[in-house]
């Protein structure tokens, strides 16, 4: 067996069995449920801002109280906390969209990158806060990275079904979706 054929066989193992495809789909759907559930406790209009901070405001303020990366703490203190209603809505809409698109497996690789960026923001906010388990955030990074690397929407997701349509189309949106899937 040549090196090339061995490498090809190794690559194929990832997706060649029903079990492998099912596991990849399971990781994608599990990650979607993570974002869906966590969109649930971002409560407008105050998002926890008040005399006794709770929820998203409290967790975001941990970036200042228990700094992880000083430039990010400065950004939170001087830009995000003073404009918290806008920031709260952006977080809610981003996480609701993450859950929505990952659940059905649409534009999955793009949304996995958004998930990585959001995980970075969460990590920089709460990593040093009391009672946080650092592996939670590392696992979130790994799950989003896995969904990106395996293009997980192509297995029992809409990306797998619709990608041939997009590939045969010349419209800009189709080309964009081919890249995003």
């Amino acid at each position: 067996m040549t090196t090339e054929s061995t490498q090809a066989d190794t690559r194929e193992i990832v997706v060649s069995t029903r079990l492998s495809r099912g596991i990849i789909a399971g990781v994608r759907i599990g990650l979607a449920l993570l974002w869906i559930q966590n969109a649930g406790w971002k409560v407008p209009p105050n998002f926890g801002q008040g005399a006794q901070p709770t929820g998203l405001y409290q967790f975001t303020s941990y970036a200042v109280e228990y700094p992880v990366f000083p430039p990010f703490s400065w950004l939170v203190e001087h830009l995000i906390l003073p404009n918290f209603a806008f920031f709260g809505w952006m977080v809610l809409l981003a996480e609701a969209s993450l859950g929505a698109f990952l659940l059905v497996g649409l534009a999955t690789r793009f949304w996995a990158l958004v998930g990585l960026a959001q995980t970075m923001a969460i990590t920089l906010s709460v990593l040093n806060a009391p009672h946080e388990w650092h592996w939670s955030y590392l696992l979130m990074f790994m799950a989003n990275a896995t969904v990106f690397a395996t293009a997980a929407g192509r297995y029992t997701g809409l990306d797998g079904l619709l990608r041939p349509h997009w590939q045969s189309s010349t419209t800009p949106i189709s080309r964009l979706l081919v890249r995003a899937s």
């Binding site: 869906i36 969109a39 649930g40 409560v43 407008p44 809610l92 859950g99 619709l162 045969s168």
Partner: protein, 123 residues
């Protein structure tokens, strides 16, 4: 009916089944309450989920689009409820309900729209 068309119909049926199955979260509390489906939203996900299942079984593009539009309209209502009242009592919903309806709505609409598109061989 082409194999691609049958795959689209199976996906439509699956998304409908997912919507119907989500009604189980009406009983869920605590850590495993992944999606808030309570009160009026139970009837909505059941009705639209059943519509999507019928759409998939009958290979009906119109019904698929109707189910997708219904879920997107539901997501818009949830968003409106969150904008106007926050953690509202008049609809027992939150961001997880918004996310779920948004995903099913976009998914079903795209499946409906893909039905009539001509396919050529991929490069």
């Amino acid at each position: 009916m082409t194999a691609a068309g049958r795959s689209l119909d199976r996906a439509t049926t699956t998304l409908g089944a997912v919507a119907v199955a989500s009604a189980v979260f009406v009983f869920a509390r605590g850590d495993f309450s992944f999606i808030r489906v309570r009160g009026d939203s139970v009837a909505v996900v059941l009705a639209l989920g059943l519509l999507a299942i019928v759409a998939g079984r009958r290979a009906s593009r119109t019904l698929t689009l109707a189910a997708g539009a219904g879920f997107l309209a539901s997501a818009a209502v949830v968003l409106l409820a969150l904008v106007t009242r926050g953690d509202s009592a008049f609809l027992d919903v939150d961001g997880s309900t918004l996310s779920f309806c948004l995903g099913l709505g976009i998914g079903l609409l795209l499946l409906g729209l893909a039905h009539d598109q001509p396919r050529t061989s991929t490069p």
